[in-house]
Symmetry: C2
Subunit: 195 residues, 2 copies
Amino acid sequence: MSTIKRKKASRKSLILQKAAAMFREKGYAATSMRDLADTVGIEAASLYNHIKSKAEMLQEIIFRIANDAYVQLDDLEDEGLSPLQKIESIMRFHIKMNVERFEEYHVMVTEWIHLEDPYLANFTSQRRNYVQKLEAIIQQGIDNKEMQPVLPYVAVLNILSSIRGIEFWHRSRKTYSAEQIEENMVSHLLNGLKK
Amino acid sequence: MSTIKRKKASRKSLILQKAAAMFREKGYAATSMRDLADTVGIEAASLYNHIKSKAEMLQEIIFRIANDAYVQLDDLEDEGLSPLQKIESIMRFHIKMNVERFEEYHVMVTEWIHLEDPYLANFTSQRRNYVQKLEAIIQQGIDNKEMQPVLPYVAVLNILSSIRGIEFWHRSRKTYSAEQIEENMVSHLLNGLKK
DNA sequence: CCTACCGATCGGTAGG
DNA sequence: CCTACCGATCGGTAGG
């Protein structure tokens, strides 16, 4: 029985992984359950033995990665870093997330509009909360004289948006390595903040 | 007859404007012609007296604004600015575009995946070309000693991605003015480039 | 996990 | 610009 359970669980995660890839490639609304079933190698009706609905798959993909980001930020609070070091650490964490789990990451940042309430409301309030924590760190860096007096709202917008832009690198022929992207992105955005 | 023609043209541009608003809000694939017709105030079938297809509307929205950006970049070449001044000018132009025509701008940067060939191929090659021109300007700024030696590919990615992120400001309660967004965005991203 | 099927909705057309 | 309608496809269920 534990074997069956394990088999079922891995089947579900295969489906979610393929779903994330398709949602990223074609968008949530333009992905049909039949397309997904073909990719997985079963009939459309059979998907429903593993997942409850198309909407539920989107929720699971988005909240799994969103929660990982959230947890990392909480863990960071205890580490006694300066505001500038914290921002650098968060940037590198997000860049690595986007490089390694780019399908989920991309679905989170672009397909969240297709969530339905209460998931939609949860997601947007969770994100607002997250952004406000980052803004507070930057404000501390300014008070600290570690950073220039740039509007924290805009600095956070620039940082998160730039990382989101790594999507283009994924779609390209990847002339540059993930390390080059990370180092240059961190240095451009951090130089713009430093005093 | 010229009155009729004008009336028809304005009807079409009303439809395109409403379409851009809906494509942005719900995504291209999730917007139905019936939804759009309701918003315009006519029957779905009547839309086809003004436009050829749903796909054609997407093409017109995207290429109109993409071409405007393209033309502006060409005009800039003649103005005898330094590389750093050019980048600042391009940034401010894009920020203003995103602030004033945010529905079209957002459709261009997020819904282009739903273009079909040959429009899809045209769009991506036009964009690659555009990005390469920006990269060349930044490379000149580095050779110039006006800018730090950051990878031009990444600098352009950060700049265009950050501007795209203004979408979040549009969705927010807009605690900050468009001018504040522009000035802070320019200063953060340009400071990170300057020597 | 499959066959067989449902009602709803899609983009679009014919004809006026 | 409308009524009436088309074939295709959608997400999902029943029953095995």
